[in-house]
């Protein structure tokens, strides 16, 4: 069905470059001054890093769980990272400290490892249990964040608002750290594309294909923890990117992760560049919440996708229960 993934990938690169140019050129002030241009550049960089990282995480988690609805929040990674941030704040670490990503990565990692430990039975980790444990641990994490909000009312408001997501971070060290981490993780996921392809066929099939299922599963969870932790530390929790973008990329380049991972990363970057453009220009001089923009763009699209999927399943179910002429078997 997908004939030329290379060409589709090239198209995505062009789209992302156009989005990048728009992000630099478009704004309420027309031709920007040097200070404004520097500001737009910093936001665009962060949009690319965060967008590509979230989309890559979503693709990996969807393959790993065999669930098209999987994203960082489903396996508890996002709220684990948020708990890490809250613990860091509780220890007196500033929201701009380079130590912050360390705490959020550890938080995401702890959440994922806890989920794996809870979900593992008889040396295996069934997908349903993994998702159920993920949602439960995620809810527990959010409860910890809320409790922190209750007990540290003065400062906690600021931390909560930080967690709600923004591309305003501009500290070069943090951006460079996030960029490095995201680049390494995307490269690692692309290099592991064979394993991800195998996971899509189910754990048993992956095992029969010679994949060390458990080791890869832990590896991919660690990769997701690193990505989510670093992204939450620089930009808070921005939703929907990891859920939506992999589906768009899949429609364009097909299911092979060799193409799908880079395509998702590029599409995620383009999506967040455009979302940030809307966030800072739509209601100028007000700045809208980037998370609200991603949800507004992503939500309807996702519902369309879901509807199409349900119809396809109905058609398949009907063809299973009828003969070639549409009569019941």
């Amino acid at each position: 069905m997908i004939r030329a993934p290379g060409r589709a990938l090239a198209t995505l690169v062009v789209v992302m470059l156009i989005a990048f140019a728009l992000a630099l050129a478009v704004g309420p002030q027309g031709w920007p001054s040097e200070a404004i241009l520097r500001l737009r550049l910093s936001r665009a960089e962060l949009a690319i890093i965060v967008g590509s990282g979230l989309a890559c995480t979503g693709t990996v988690l969807q393959a790993l769980s065999g669930n098209p609805l999987a994203d960082p929040s489903v396996i508890g990674a996002s709220s684990g990272a948020a708990v890490g941030i809250v613990v860091a704040r509780w220890c007196g670490i500033a929201l701009t400290s380079p130590l912050l990503p360390l705490f959020s990565v550890l938080g995401a990692y702890a959440a994922i490892m806890l989920v794996l430990r809870i979900a593992r039975t008889g040396g295996r980790t069934p997908v349903q249990t993994l998702l159920l444990a993920g949602v439960t641990v995620g809810t527990l994490g959010l409860a910890i964040v809320l409790l922190y909000y209750n007990f540290h009312t003065g400062d906690a408001g600021r931390t909560m608002l930080f967690l709600m997501g923004s591309l305003g971070e501009s500290k070069p060290e943090l951006i460079a750290l996030a960029a490095g981490c995201v680049a390494i993780c995307i490269a690692a996921a692309t290099l592991s594309s064979r394993a991800l392809d195998a996971f899509c066929a189910g754990e048993t099939s992956a095992h029969h294909l010679g994949i060390d299922v458990e080791r890869y599963k832990i590896g991919f969870c660690l990769l997701s923890a690193a990505l989510v932790g670093v992204i939450v530390a620089v930009a808070g929790m921005i939703g929907f990117v990891g859920l939506i973008v992999p589906h768009v990329a899949r429609a364009l380049v097909g299911h092979a992760h060799r193409w799908l991972i880079p395509a998702s990363a590029i599409a995620g970057a383009a999506f967040l560049l455009l979302a940030d453009l809307v966030a800072r220009t739509a209601a100028e001089p007000l700045e809208l919440s980037i998370g609200a923009i991603t949800a507004f763009c992503g939500g309807p699209f996702f519902l369309l996708l879901l509807r199409r999927r349900v119809r396809e399943r109905d058609v398949l179910a009907r063809s299973d229960s009828t003969d070639d002429r549409g009569r019941p078997r």
Partner: protein, 290 residues
């Protein structure tokens, strides 16, 4: 969503009120007016203030000993007064409040706040006010004075505050500087013309750079701040991140010219109480200094 959450949070913390959502849940919804129940003509003798602005007004009226309970955000009371702290924002200790057996609870919650109705259902008289202009603040001073039985003192206080504001107005600066007032970060959380802080800045001789925005508190875009290039930056919050690391501040001429005021007594401008006039006078002096 961020802006509205921030606004709600700021109103409660900076603006001085206290969240009483738990009570609302406890007792459901009601929309009666916010004055105490009719038929009570006796001046209250056991007051709990859940708002720093109400506490400051009572202190200024010289009736601080009437306070038996205050919120965690209220200032320390004068020597000799003892009031129990009953919590704050999201952690109001309703039982501790009820144990104080108050005959009046003061808060800055809006008239339709569900928390007020919840208090009434628990048998507590509540007065909610939200003065969002200088005139409303002066009227509130007089109204509270009448309520606690010191009407004459209230009139005198309001008149003296009025006179001080008039004195500032008679001393205009040669050039009105544009001013960016930041009430919170991360992000550029600032004031529009619906906030009393906007009027206070104008009374001090400044021009709010976002005064055209029909909001009270909102998040401005970094780019809009750079483009509007204020003469003065006034930061009314603890500094979380070094200003040099914030491109929207570091890129301003005000930053390069050393016209960033970060050490201002923020509560004096963020609470709609008699102390606001102190804040206006202090800001007037700072703006006059090049």
């Amino acid at each position: 969503m961020i802006a509205s959450l921030r606004r709600a949070w700021f109103r409660r913390v900076g603006g001085g009120g206290v969240g009483i959502a738990a009570l609302a849940l406890l007792a459901g919804c009601d929309h009666r007016p916010t004055s105490p129940p009719p038929g009570r003509h006796v001046a209250p003798r056991r007051i709990v203030s859940l708002a720093p602005s109400c506490t400051e007004t009572l202190v200024a009226l010289g009736v601080a000993p009437l306070l038996v309970g205050i919120s965690d955000y209220c200032p320390e009371l004068p020597a000799g007064c003892a009031a129990t702290r009953v919590g704050g924002l999201e952690n109001l200790n309703v039982e501790a409040l009820l144990e104080l057996d108050p005959d009046l609870v003061l808060t800055v919650q809006a008239a339709d706040d569900r928390g007020l109705a919840a208090f009434r259902r628990l048998g507590v008289a509540v007065r909610g006010s939200n003065p969002q202009s200088l005139a409303a603040m002066l009227a509130e001073v007089e109204a509270l004075a009448v309520l606690v039985g010191v009407a004459e003192r209230g009139r005198e206080l309001a008149a003296s505050l009025h006179a001080r504001l008039d004195a500032i107005a008679r001393d205009p600066a040669a050039r009105i500087p544009t001013i960016y007032v930041e009430v919170d970060e991360p992000g550029c959380f600032t004031i529009g013309h619906s906030s009393f802080v906007h009027e206070a800045v104008a009374a001090a001789g400044g021009l709010n750079v976002f005064g055209d925005v029909a909001q009270d508190y909102f998040q401005a875009s970094q780019e809009a701040l750079l483009a509007r290039a204020p003469d003065v930056v006034l930061l009314l919050h603890p500094i979380g991140r070094p200003l040099a690391e914030r491109p929207e501040i570091a890129g301003l001429a005000a930053f390069r010219n050393g016209r960033v005021i970060a050490d201002f007594d923020r509560d004096s401008l963020l609470r709609s109480s008699p102390r606001l006039v102190d804040g206006i006078e202090a800001l007037h002096r700072r703006l006059a200094t090049p």
